[in-house]
């Protein structure tokens, strides 16, 4: 079976994010770029499926100059090859544009399954997997914590996380599956994998080759700011009994929360 994995680079989650000087974007100078954590679960799941059902794992990505590092790390973990739309105009494009680009890449590959992370921890839009499924006219399962593919490769069983429990889904393949934390424990690369990755192909494609129009969006960014909720910063002193008594009094009479 042929599995495509959508993978992007994001600033590490411990990065400090500041608005840029023109307040129309964020200042990402000096941040450490990592593979989006949820995409790691997607890749791991693809690699496990490949161990079970012979086939190929192809990584699809959109990025700038640094994206090569992410591709090599995915190949070192066991992906077979990577295809990258290397075009800065697409990197932070509207999710509709990203979904169009990934759909164009996927159509050339005709995978049986596409695995994505449930969201990028940069823009937090949780949009691309469902949009990609719609563009391809495939079914979807998002926020998936368990996935089983039937032996005939024609259908899958997935569990997705919802409020207060899990939904179990039966899905006809091909489909788009968006991975949630808990789906698996991603592996680490070993030296053999890192050496092997150097010989694996990374194909760079252009927007023109994919038949894509220049990115556009109706969403206009007016301002990027930082949360600035004033906090009371009141330390409650005393022994534990006094602290608790005072806190409960405050929550009850001042905050009216109890």
């Amino acid at each position: 079976m042929k599995i495509a994995v959508c993978l992007k680079q994001v600033p590490a989650t411990d990065s400090r994010i500041k608005p840029s000087s023109d307040s129309h974007g964020v200042d990402l100078a000096g941040v450490e770029w990592v593979v989006n954590p949820y995409d790691e679960f997607a890749l791991e799941e693809a690699l496990r499926l490949k161990e079970k059902y012979p086939g190929e794992v192809v990584v699809l990505s959109i990025g700038g100059d640094k994206v090569e590092e992410a591709m090599r790390s995915a190949l070192a973990l066991g992906a077979d090859r990577a295809i990258v739309l290397k075009d800065p105009a697409f990197v932070n494009a509207d999710p509709l544009v990203i979904a169009d680009a990934l759909a164009a890449m996927a159509k050339k590959e005709s995978p049986d399954l596409i695995l994505c992370g449930k969201q990028g921890v940069d823009h937090d839009r949780m949009a691309v997997p469902a949009m990609l499924a719609e563009k391809l006219d495939w079914p979807q399962a998002t926020v998936v914590v368990k996935l089983e593919i039937d032996a005939d490769g024609k259908s899958a069983h997935a569990e997705r996380e919802v409020e207060g429990g899990h939904e179990e889904l039966e899905i006809t393949l091909p489909a788009v599956i968006a991975a949630q934390k808990g789906l698996n424990e991603p592996r680490y690369a070993n030296l053999k994998g890192i050496m092997a990755a150097k010989k694996k192909p990374v194909t760079v494609v252009t927007a023109a080759e994919l038949g894509l129009l220049p990115p556009s969006t109706a969403v206009q960014i007016l301002e990027v700011g930082q949360p600035s909720q004033a906090r009371k910063n009141r330390m409650i002193a005393g022994d534990p009994a006094q602290q608790v008594e005072e806190l409960v009094r405050i929550l009850r009479t001042e905050e009216k929360l109890l």
Partner: protein, 327 residues
Amino acid sequence: MAHLVLTIVEHRDGQIRKSSLEALALGKRLAAEGGGTQAALIVGKGISNLAADIGARGAALVAIADHDIATQYSTEVYATAVQRAAEKTGAGLILESATAQGKDLAPRIAARLNAPYLTDIVDARVENGNLVAVRPEYAGKALLKVSVPITKVVVTTRPNVFPAETPQTQAAPETTSIDVSDVIPRARVVKFVGASKETVDVAEAEIIVSGGRGLKGPENFPLVFELAKALGAGVGASRAVVDAGWIDHDHQVGQTGKTVSPTLYVACGISGAIQHLAGMRTSKCIVAINKDADAPIFKIADYGLAGDLFEILPRLTEAVKKAKGAH
């Protein structure tokens, strides 16, 4: 007046979900600001009787897709229902709460309608025919104020942020039925497995009690659960303790977990790593309990208790029970 807004209403156990009441209140306000009305859509089986309540919450028209095929949530069935309701009502602004369903469905609709999508907004108004909305990125480390024409946009609202309104007595809303009988879903929910927990899900909890490394081990997590139970709260956790396997990941609050905005957030033994703070900093009132008086969590707390949580938590649980019992 034209229907400007189409709000997708979720229901559970025969009731409109609280997050949908919030969306309906927002939809009513945005429609009024744009000089139009709100329409609503409800999808399911045997749900037509909810139309009156939806009308009382500010919908002038209720589109109803009531069919066997919609008994369980299905992205494909629901997306078609929304598409048809949007065509029928002419509404350009499609609104839903950012619940598990909303986050699965809304982007699919956006792609189908080729409409821009704004996820998890925390503020919104209509200005000169545009929706001006604020949405968090980087788990709330950045807030983007954006503008998009109201004529074509799909939006999800963050639960617990927009206030719900009490129902108004008024004439029953106009209703219209939406046919979804022709949709053959390729992904079907075959079973719902409820979590075996007594507490509220952290994503929709109004009060959250979270535990971190300061609990010293998974055997002490019951201290957090006890307090949560006394408060009627959901249980959250830091990434460190989730990664250590002390508690299931669906409790994790933070950048690779859930972003929450409860009325009250009680952080127990959490030092306040930047990725955790990002997930809970929009809480209305934050209480921090930590041994280390210099822990970063105290910088964003309203009330700080520097001390031994093993001494404080059991006493706090008892005091809360007593305070609540005294009502």
